[in-house]
């Protein structure tokens, strides 16, 4: 029995070796790889979309269509948005990984050495579609090259419960931070606080804290891009105000929230307002029976959107910019570029854009005229999100240093530390020290 087994194993090994050697010899003789290795595969890494229908559309319709029309295979992979940067770093250092990686905001500057110039594609799409928004251009291009192809901007607006605001006398959304604080105080007293994260999370935290800082007149760095000017009277005032606003009107448990927590809290009616993309509203549209108000009506009829209130220095917005980086290590650069070009043709991009129902605003002006913006007035404020955004790093450029400051959550932590009890002066000084370490190098 043992002999029989040994003989069998030897036979198997022998045939495997024969196949391997003749196969290799065959490849070497013809100079051609076998057919299965010839199919080019483009690996596209993106976030898990907050509009699940869009990911489903990508998987079931757009990717199969692209595979058919371009003769390539597409590996469409989605991960939590917070995991995109670690994946990009690991891929670049190991020299292998996804061909296309989605980048948020000005992260592209961090990976500038490791990406392929996409100027030609970006400019041609911009030219065809009424011009790229300045906001998207500044985040994806350093003026010399497009480090990534602008994809879309996820507009950040405050989603709020209209009836609850009405109940405390706010029939129109507060225009200034002071008004907002007064309303928030009344709402919190009724057990319906504002839900705002100050955690280390890519979207809802910095898109709140940066515009908030700017609205008070504070900024990280001067226009020269070198002089750190965070330690100013304006920043100090903003931190002081935040301490009161947090205590008076916010859900204090939100300090460690990620980008999904506020969605859950809003949908379970524990908060009355939160800065978010339109995903909360879209989810209530998708499941009107599941999400009902305390009075029994569909929640989607009770949600409105408003921009962040104005401060002494004006009203600002920073929205999550998404773009795709074509990686230098990719062995399929031509295929990946062809795929990106295909994805950005109007007919294909439109399918995805419509599936977003306004959650994402395209990076070019032409889409402002799309009929989708007239279908639902609740979504109308998102139409111009990309047009009005201001990039991190203001008053300097959104360059690598600004990206480092953003990815270290320094501005967000300054406020988080202050609401946790650190004196406002100390929190500002801490942020100044951290920013100087970045900008003075």
């Amino acid at each position: 029995m043992a002999n029989a087994k040994r003989r069998y194993v030897l036979k198997l090994a022998g045939s495997a070796a024969a196949v391997a050697s003749t196969g290799l010899a065959g490849i070497l003789a013809t100079g051609r790889a076998p057919a299965f290795a010839q199919t080019r595969t483009v690996h596209w890494l993106r976030w898990v979309d907050f509009v699940p229908a869009s990911d489903a559309l990508m998987r079931k319709e757009l990717m199969p269509q692209a595979e058919k029309e371009l003769g390539i295979k597409i590996n469409f992979e989605t991960v939590n948005g917070n995991d995109l940067q670690p994946r990009a770093t690991a891929a670049i250092q190991s020299g292998s990984g996804p061909d296309l990686i989605q980048a948020f905001n000005n992260n592209t500057y961090i990976y500038a050495n490791s990406v392929v110039d996409l100027t030609e594609l970006a400019e041609s799409v911009g030219k065809r579609e009424g011009g790229l928004y300045k906001y998207c251009r500044s985040l994806c291009s350093d003026g010399k090259m497009f480090m990534s192809m602008p994809w879309a901007v996820i507009g950040g607006m405050i989603a709020y419960r209209k009836s609850w605001f009405d109940e405390v006398g706010a029939t129109a959304f507060p225009k200034t931070w002071s008004e907002y604080r007064e309303v928030a105080k009344k709402l919190k007293a009724k057990g319906r606080p504002i839900g705002q994260t100050l955690g280390h999370t890519f979207g809802d935290a910095p898109t709140f804290t940066y515009p908030y800082l700017w609205s008070w007149g504070g900024k990280e760095v001067d226009a020269d891009g070198k002089t750190v000017v965070i330690n100013s009277k304006e920043t100090f005032e903003s931190v002081k105000f935040m301490q009161g606003f947090w205590k008076d009107g916010c859900d204090e448990g939100a300090l460690a929230w990620d980008d999904t927590n506020n969605n859950r809290a809003f949908l379970s009616q524990t908060i009355s307002a939160t800065l978010n993309g339109a995903s909360i509203y879209i989810e209530t549209l998708r499941k009107p029976d599941q999400y009902q108000t305390e009075k029994g009506g569909p929640m989607n009829k009770d949600i409105l959107h408003a921009p962040l209130p104005a401060g002494p220095a004006g009203q600002f917005g920073m929205h999550l910019n998404q773009s795709d980086m074509l990686m230098k290590y990719s062995k399929n650069q031509d295929a990946a570029k062809a795929f990106l070009t295909w994805m950005h043709t109007e007919a294909n991009f439109e399918k995805w854009f419509v599936s977003q129902k306004g959650f994402a605003t395209p990076p070019t002006a032409k889409w402002e005229e799309h009929k989708i913006w007239n279908e639902d007035p609740v979504m109308a404020p998102f139409k111009v999100a990309a047009k009005l955004g201001q990039a991190p790093g203001f008053a300097g450029l959104p360059n690598q240093k600004a990206a480092e400051a953003l990815s270290k959550y320094i501005i967000t932590d300054m406020y988080a530390k202050a609401v946790q009890g650190m004196a406002a002066e100390e929190a500002v000084k801490w942020a100044e020290g951290e920013l100087k370490k970045i900008y003075s190098v």
Binding site: T89, S114, G199, H200, N261, S407, A416, Q420
Partner: protein, 309 residues
């Protein structure tokens, strides 16, 4: 004839290669080689690479240049780093004490005879067996600021009137991750110490009992000294693992709120992998080494003292 032929074959002088192996030095070298290669490849090489990285200005996609100890000087001036150092010691210290106390208590209980002993022993191991990321996600939900089942229970029982901000408050967040670490680590202590307890002859305890020793005295003067060598080894493993813990903190708090729960490993990850500052991340990671080295050496010396006593 056949036998003669075979005999002639075996009597042939061994080839030179094999003869070399008769020399103990060569044999030892050959036997050690696989281990040495493995250690060199997977421990020494990455370590040396890490050291080189920490002495450079490398960023993601940029190999950088040699900058000497600049990254370490930068760390010395970084208060988030010092928070991480303090947190790592505090986290390791507190959890090790609790894991030892609870693990020992559990091991003593499991060392007794009762019905269903085998099943209970198997169940005790569950927290240790479940992948850390999975169980930690479950804990994360239990500590969720809005939906915490712990808060819900305490509220229903009437012990609290407002929500406890488990992961949003710096101290509570640290306490929360410690609870999860203890929950996960107790089975390792319990089962290892149980194995140690079973090597102690029951006759020693019986003799002490006959001499009139009370249970506490029997534990303190008989069981504990005999269990000490095993305990020290278990503690050594646990300290090393806890000191370099990553996944639990990463999943629960990501080092937040506002960097309040960063440990060495999570801060190194934040700096090196997320922000792409590879050299600075490597420096944070390596800064753990001297601390851990001192702890391990002290523990090993103590173990040697205990064993030779």
């Amino acid at each position: 004839m056949a036998v003669t032929a075979l005999g002639a074959g075996t009597a042939r002088r061994p080839v030179v290669r094999l003869r070399k192996m008769e020399d103990e030095r060569w044999l030892a070298l050959a036997l050690l080689a696989p281990t040495a290669i493995l250690l060199g490849l997977f421990i020494a090489y990455p370590f040396a690479e890490g050291v080189m990285l920490s002495l450079s200005s490398a960023r993601v996609g940029d190999p950088g240049k040699f900058v000497g100890l600049k990254n370490f000087f930068k760390l010395a001036d970084d208060n988030i780093f010092w928070t991480s150092v303090w947190n790592t010691f505090w986290y390791t210290g507190v959890t090790t004490v609790f894991k030892l106390a609870l693990g020992l208590w559990l091991a003593m209980l499991l060392n007794r005879h009762f019905r269903g002993k085998a099943i209970v022993r198997a169940f005790v191991l569950l927290p240790f067996i479940i992948p850390t990321v999975l169980s930690t996600f479950a804990w994360k939900w239990m500590f969720d600021p809005t939906f915490s089942v712990i808060n819900w229970t305490l509220f229903k029982v009437g012990l609290i009137s407002a929500r406890i901000n488990w992961l949003g408050d710096a101290d509570l967040a640290m306490a929360s991750i410690m609870v999860v670490n203890i929950w996960r680590g107790v089975p390792f202590f319990a089962i290892s110490l149980l194995a140690g307890l079973q090597t102690i002859s029951p006759e020693l305890n019986e003799a002490a009992a006959i001499d009139g020793a009370r249970p506490w005295n029997r534990f303190w003067y008989v069981t504990w000294p005999l269990l000490l060598p095993v305990t020290m080894v278990v503690m050594l493993f646990s300290v090393i693992q806890t000191f370099a813990d990553f996944q639990l903190v990463y999943v629960m708090t990501g080092g937040g709120p506002a960097n309040a729960t960063h440990l060495f490993a999570t801060y190194a990850y934040q700096i090196g992998i997320v922000s792409g500052l590879l050299s600075e991340g490597a420096a944070v990671s390596l800064a753990m080494f001297p601390f851990l080295f001192v702890i391990v050496v002290v523990q090993l010396l103590y173990i040697r003292r205990v064993e030779t006593r």
